[in-house]
C-alpha cells in the first residue's frame, strides 16, 4: 500500500497530473479560442468559463470545446471565407471560343467582374465607349489598368475612324 502511495506521489506522476489538469487545459483552450472570430463573445466567454470548471473535469471539457471549435466554428468560418472569396473572384462563364454577348453585357455594365477573352474585352470596351464611357470607365468596369484601358479605347476609336 505504501509502495502504491509512493508511486502515486512520485514526481513524474505529479508532473503529469499538473500538466494534464493544470497547465495544458488553459494553454490548449487559449489556442482553441483563436478559432473563434475576434469579435465573437464566445472567445472571451470560453476562457472565463474554464475557471469555474472543476479541475478534474477540465481536460474533458477542453476536449469538448476543441471538437466544437474544429467541427462547428472552424467549418463555418471556412465556408464563409470560401463564399466571400468566390464573390471576390471573377465570374468565369463557360469559354467556348466565341464571343459571349451575355459576358460582354455583364462586364460592360460593371454589374459583376467577368473573366473575358480578348475579343470579349474589346467588345465590352466598345460597348462602354458607345454608351459615353471613357477609358477610365473601361478600366473600372473591366478591371484593367488605366494604361491598358486607354490603349484599348484608342485602338477602338482608330478602328471606328477607319470604318
Amino acid at each position: 500500500m505504501s509502495e502504491l502511495i509512493f508511486h502515486v506521489l512520485a514526481w513524474p506522476t505529479v508532473g503529469v497530473a499538473l500538466l494534464v489538469f493544470g497547465f495544458t487545459p488553459g494553454a490548449v483552450l487559449r489556442l482553441i479560442a483563436l478559432v473563434f472570430h475576434r469579435d465573437d463573445p464566445r472567445r472571451k466567454e470560453l476562457l472565463a468559463e474554464l475557471h469555474v470548471v472543476p479541475r478534474i473535469e477540465r481536460p474533458f471539457w477542453v476536449a469538448e470545446q476543441l471538437e466544437v471549435a474544429l467541427f462547428d466554428v472552424l467549418r463555418a468560418r471556412l465556408v464563409i471565407r470560401r463564399t466571400e472569396q468566390a464573390e471576390r473572384d471573377p465570374w468565369v462563364l463557360p469559354e467556348d471560343g466565341v464571343l459571349d454577348p451575355r459576358a460582354v453585357e455583364v462586364a460592360a455594365s460593371g454589374e459583376r467582374r467577368v473573366r473575358l477573352t480578348r475579343r470579349e474585352q474589346r467588345a465590352a470596351a466598345a460597348r462602354i465607349l458607345a454608351h459615353g464611357g471613357t477609358a477610365w470607365t473601361i478600366a473600372k468596369r473591366l478591371h484593367l489598368r488605366y494604361s491598358v484601358a486607354r490603349a484599348l479605347a484608342t485602338s477602338i476609336a482608330i478602328k471606328n475612324g477607319r470604318d
Binding site: 463573445p41 464566445r42 472571451k44 466567454e45 476562457l47 472565463a48 468559463e49 475557471h51 469555474v52 470548471v53 471539457w61 469538448e64 470545446q65 471538437e67 466544437v68 467541427f71 462547428d72
Partner: protein, 106 residues
C-alpha cells in the same frame, strides 16, 4: 424555433430559475446538453430576443483571479416563449421521458 430535445432541455433549465442569471457551464450541466449544442441554441435565443447577455462586474468576481464571465438572463418575451414551448413539449409524446421527472418533482 423548431422544438428539439436539446431545446426543451435548455428551456427547462432556464425556466427552472426564470429570474436569475444563467452561466454557460452551469446551464450546460443543469440541462445536460453539450456545449456544442447548447451555445448555438443560446445564440438563437439571443437573436430572437428571448435572452439578454452581459458580463459579470468586477465587484461580483471579488478577489478571485479570473476573467469576468458571460451571463444570460431571460427577457419577458423569453419567459413567454419558453413557457409556451415547455407547455407544448408537455403535450408532445416525444418529450415525455424528459418531462416526466419534472412532473414528479412538482
Amino acid at each position: 424555433m423548431r422544438s428539439t430535445y436539446a431545446l426543451v432541455q435548455v428551456a427547462l433549465a432556464l425556466m427552472a430559475d426564470r429570474d436569475d442569471r444563467h452561466w454557460g457551464y452551469e446551464l450546460s450541466k443543469r440541462s445536460g446538453v453539450r456545449s456544442g449544442v447548447m451555445y448555438p441554441i443560446l445564440r438563437r435565443m439571443l437573436d430572437e430576443g428571448w435572452l439578454i447577455d452581459g458580463w459579470e462586474d468586477q465587484a461580483q468576481i471579488g478577489k478571485a483571479r479570473r476573467p469576468p464571465r458571460r451571463y444570460y438572463e431571460l427577457t419577458d418575451k423569453g419567459r413567454i416563449a419558453l413557457g409556451s414551448l415547455v407547455a407544448e413539449a408537455r403535450r408532445d409524446s416525444r418529450f415525455r421521458p424528459l418531462l416526466a421527472p419534472q412532473a414528479t418533482r412538482g
